[in-house]
C-alpha cells in the first residue's frame, strides 16, 4: 500500500477537480434546460440532434448532411459550417450541384434515379467464360501435378536373402539387388526370405518373409501400402509432409523414427523402437512412443517388442537401441517441468482484437537438464553414439548442444512464460505473429548483441536478425523484414517485420487494454485461473 501520493498524482487530481469544479450558475442551467425543452417540443430535434450526435469529420459527413442543409433544417451555426465547406471544397461543391466529381452522383433536392443494374454483354460473357475456363484448367493442372508426385522410381532394392518378386501390370518377376520399383508396383518376399528396401526419400524398410508392399508418393507425403507381413521402417527426417504406412486396418503416420508394422488377416500390430508415431485405427488415434505397442484387434494380441521384431537381421542393434531409449525415456520423465501458471503478465497488455494466443512455459531449465541427461547417456552407450552420428545430428550448425545452450541462456533473462500472439489488424496487414516474454533481469540486449557479433565473426549467417531497443526501433523502416528482437526493460518482443514490432511496442507503452474484458480474453483468463 502506498503511504505517499506522488506529485504527479496530486497534479492529476488537481486537474480533475478543476474540471469537476467548473460549473455555471443555477440560472444558466435553468435557462439551458428551458432552451433544450423548447427545441425538443418544437421538433427542431431531429436536425439539431444531428449536430451533436453526428460530428463532421470530413467531406463524407458534409455530403451526408446536404439533404437536410438544402431543406434548411439546420440551425444557423451548423448551416454556416456546411456553407463554408462548400465554398472551400471544389469536390463537395460539385457534388452538391450534381456535377458528380470523384464518381459521386447528385443528391439532395433532385430526385434520385434508380441505379442501373449490372447487364451482361457479349464481351463480358466471353471474358467471364474465358476466366472460368482458365481457372478450371489451372486447378486441374495443379491437382495433377500434386497428386502425380515427383518423377522417377519410388524404391530401390538394397539387399535380398532368398526370393523377392515385383508384381506389376505386366505380371510377376523376380527381383535382384539394385532393382528400381515404380509407382503402382508391389514387392513381395517369398517364404524364408528377407529384403531391404530404400524408399526414394531416404527411409529404409526391412521386410520379413511373405511381406507385400508398394510405395506411392505425392509432392508432400510418401505412403507405404502394406498388404500383409512384417516390416521395420527407419523413417528419414523430412522438412515437410509425413511418411505413412497404410495397412488394411490402420494407418501409421511418422516423421523420422524407427518402428515395426505387422499386418495379417486377423489385424495389425504397431511397435515403436525409437521416436513417436501416430496410429489411426477403428476411428481412434493412438500416439505411441519408444517401447510402446498397439494391436488393432484383440485376436492379434500383444507380444513383447523383442519378440515382435525377433525376425530382424539387426535384432541386436534394434533391441539395444530400444533398451537405451527406454532407459532415456524413464530418466527424462523424472525431470521436473515448471509448475502451473495461474496468471499472465502479458495477457492484459495485448490488443483488444487479439485473435491468437499461445502461452508456452519457459522450459529453458528443463531443456538444459534433459540435454545433460541425454549427453550422459550418449557418452555411456555406443549404440546411441552410432545412432546420433548416423543421423548427422552432431555435424549440423548450430549443433543441438549449441542451440540448447543458447535457449537456456536466453531463458534465464525471461519470465515464466513465452506468448505467441497475433491480432486481427496485424493479420489483415499481412504481418506475422509476434513472440512476447516478460524480461526478468537486465542484460538480455547485451547478451543477444554479443551473440550476434560472435556469429558474424565466425562467418555464419545471422538470417537478418536485429536486436534493437525502443530508440533504435524507431530508426528502422516500417517495411524492414527479418527477425527483429525488441528488448525493453520489461519485455522482449520478437517479430518478422518492423511495423508489427513497432505497433506492439506502442501497445505495450499504452498499458492495459480491454482485451482481458473480451470473450476471448476472459476464456484465456479462466484457463489461467485453473492453472495451466
Amino acid at each position: 500500500m502506498k503511504l505517499f501520493r506522488s506529485k504527479q498524482d496530486t497534479y492529476l487530481d488537481q486537474a480533475i477537480s478543476e474540471l469537476r469544479g467548473e460549473k455555471p450558475d443555477a440560472e444558466a442551467f435553468a435557462a439551458s434546460s428551458e432552451r433544450v425543452w423548447k427545441r425538443l417540443q418544437t421538433g427542431e430535434g431531429e436536425a439539431v440532434a444531428t449536430s451533436s450526435a453526428q460530428p463532421i469529420r470530413g467531406c463524407a459527413d458534409i455530403r451526408s448532411l446536404l439533404p437536410a442543409f438544402n431543406r434548411q433544417e439546420f440551425p444557423p451555426a451548423r448551416a454556416l459550417i456546411v456553407k463554408n465547406h462548400l465554398r472551400e471544397c471544389v469536390s463537395c461543391r460539385s457534388y452538391a450541384y450534381g456535377r458528380g466529381v470523384d464518381g459521386a452522383t447528385s443528391v439532395a433536392w433532385r430526385m434520385e434515379q434508380g441505379a442501373r443494374g449490372f447487364q451482361w454483354s457479349l464481351v463480358r460473357l466471353t471474358f467471364a467464360a474465358a476466366t472460368v475456363a482458365l481457372l478450371v484448367a489451372a486447378v486441374w493442372a495443379g491437382r495433377n501435378w500434386y497428386v502425380a508426385g515427383p518423377p522417377g522410381s519410388r524404391a530401390r532394392i538394397d539387399s535380398i536373402e532368398g526370393q523377392a518378386y515385383r508384381i506389376g501390370p505386366t505380371g510377376e518377376r523376380a527381383l535382384k539387388e539394385a532393382d528400381e520399383i515404380g509407382e503402382g508396383e508391389f514387392i513381395r518376399t517369398g517364404a524364408n526370405s528377407h529384403a531391404r528396401v530404400r524408399v526414394f526419400e531416404g527411409s529404409q524398410v526391412e521386410m520379413n518373409q511373405r511381406a507385400e508392399l508398394a510405395v506411392s508418393a505425392s509432392r508432400r507425403d510418401t505412403t507405404i501400402h502394406l498388404d500383409q507381413g512384417s516390416i521395420i521402417v527407419q523413417a528419414a527426417k523430412r522438412h515437410t509432409g509425413h511418411l505413412y504406412v497404410r495397412a488394411p486396418d490402420c494407418t501409421v503416420a511418422v516423421t523420422g523414427t524407427v518402428f515395426s508394422v505387422n499386418s495379417g488377416t486377423k489385424g495389425s500390430r504397431v511397435a515403436v523402437i525409437e521416436g513417436e508415431v501416430h496410429v489411426k485405427h477403428a476411428g481412434s488415434e493412438s500416439i505411441l512412443h519408444s517401447g510402446d505397442l498397439v494391436a488393432t484387434t484383440q485376436s492379434v494380441g500383444v507380444v513383447p517388442i523383442r519378440e515382435e521384431i525377433g525376425w530382424s537381421r539387426d535384432l541386436d542393434h534394434e533391441v539395444a537401441l530400444l533398451a537405451q531409449f527406454s532407459k532415456l525415456r524413464a530418466k527424462l520423465e523424472e525431470i521436473q517441468t515448471p509448475g502451473p501458471r495461474y496468471e499472465s503478465k502479458i495477457l492484459p497488455l495485448l490488443p483488444a482484437d487479439t485473435v491468437l494466443y499461445i502461452g508456452i512455459p519457459n522450459l529453458g531449465d528443463a531443456l538444459q537438464r534433459a540435454n545433460r541427461i541425454f549427453q550422459q547417456q550418449v557418452a555411456q552407450s555406443t549404440v546411441l553414439q552410432d545412432w546420433w552420428n548416423k543421423g548427422g545430428k552432431s555435424n549440423q550448425h548450430p549443433t543441438p548442444q549449441e542451440l540448447i545452450d543458447q535457449i537456456h541462456a536466453i531463458s534465464q533473462y525471461l519470465g515464466d512464460e513465452v506468448v505467441i500472439t497475433a491480432w486481427a489488424s496485424s493479420v489483415s496487414d499481412s504481418h506475422g505473429p509476434l513472440l512476447l516474454a516478460e524480461v526478468r533481469q537486465p542484460g538480455l540486449k547485451d547478451y543477444l548483441q554479443q551473440h550476434l557479433a560472435d556469429t558474424l565473426r565466425s562467418g555464419r549467417s545471422t538470417g537478418n536478425l536485429r536486436v534493437v531497443d525502443p530508440k533504435s526501433l524507431s530508426s528502422l523502416a516500417a517495411e524492414e523484414r527479418g527477425m527483429i528482437m525488441l528488448v525493453t526493460p520489461k519485455t522482449l518482443v520478437v517479430g518478422g517485420d518492423a511495423a508489427s514490432v513497432r505497433q506492439m511496442s506502442a501497445q505495450l507503452d499504452a498499458g492495459a487494454t480491454l482485451f482481458a474484458g473480451t470473450d476471448f480474453g476472459q476464456r484465456i483468463a479462466n484457463v489461467y485461473s485453473r492453472g495451466t
Binding site: A15, L19, K23, S32, S33, L40, V48, S52, P55
Partner: protein
C-alpha cells in the same frame, strides 16, 4: 375514434418525457458540461440524449436505473463530441465571461486553470473510448467501481485495471505537458 386516440397517446408520451426531462435534465446537462466545457455543446448533448430516449424504442419504464442510464448516455455523447473535434482547441464563449466575472482569482490563475481543463479534455478525446468512459464516470461523475462495472457490463477488476492504466498514462502526459514538452 382512431384519430382521437392518437393525439391522446402523443400527449401522454410528451407528458412522460417532460417528467423524465424535468427530473434528470440538470444532471444530464452537468455531466455533458463537465466533459465538453461548453454550455452550447452540453445543450446539444442533452437534447440528443433525450431525443434518443423519446425517439427510439427505449421506454423510461423499462430502464431500471434511469439516472445512471442518462448520465452514461450524456458522458458518451459528450465524449463523442470532443473526440470529433480532434486536436482543435475550442474555447467556449462563456469562459470569457467567467474570466471577467471570477474576480477572486488572478487572471494568470484562471488562464492556467483553463489550460489544464482543455488539456484534460483533449486527453479524454485521445483515450480508448471505453477507458475514457470509465474515467469520466469515475472521476467526473464520482461513481464507484462496482457501479461502473455494472453499468458497463464488466468486472470490477477490469474497471480497476483500466482506471489505473488510464491514470498512469494521464500522469505521464500531464508531467510532459507541465514541462512544456507537449
Amino acid at each position: 375514434m382512431a384519430a382521437a386516440i392518437e393525439p391522446i397517446m402523443v400527449t401522454r408520451a410528451v407528458t412522460q418525457l417532460e417528467e423524465v426531462f424535468r427530473a434528470h435534465q440538470v444532471c444530464v446537462l452537468k455531466a455533458a458540461y463537465r466533459v465538453t466545457g461548453s454550455m452550447a455543446d452540453a445543450e446539444d448533448v442533452s437534447q440528443s440524449v433525450f431525443l434518443r430516449l423519446a425517439g427510439e424504442a427505449i421506454s423510461p419504464n423499462r430502464i431500471s436505473n434511469l439516472q445512471s442510464y442518462l448520465r452514461k448516455s450524456a458522458v458518451n455523447a459528450a465524449l463523442d463530441l470532443i473526440r470529433s473535434r480532434g486536436h482543435r482547441e475550442v474555447v467556449p464563449i462563456e469562459s470569457a465571461d467567467e474570466l471577467q466575472s471570477n474576480s477572486n482569482l488572478s487572471p494568470e490563475r484562471v488562464v492556467s486553470s483553463l489550460e489544464i481543463q482543455n488539456w484534460l479534455r483533449r486527453e479524454l478525446a485521445t483515450l480508448n473510448p471505453r477507458a475514457a468512459e470509465m474515467f469520466a464516470l469515475r472521476y467526473l461523475e464520482g461513481l464507484d467501481n462496482p457501479e461502473i462495472a455494472q453499468m458497463m457490463n464488466t468486472s470490477q477488476a477490469v474497471v480497476a485495471v483500466t482506471l489505473h492504466r488510464t491514470r498512469a498514462r494521464l500522469k505521464k502526459h500531464l508531467c510532459a505537458f507541465r514541462k512544456g514538452a507537449l
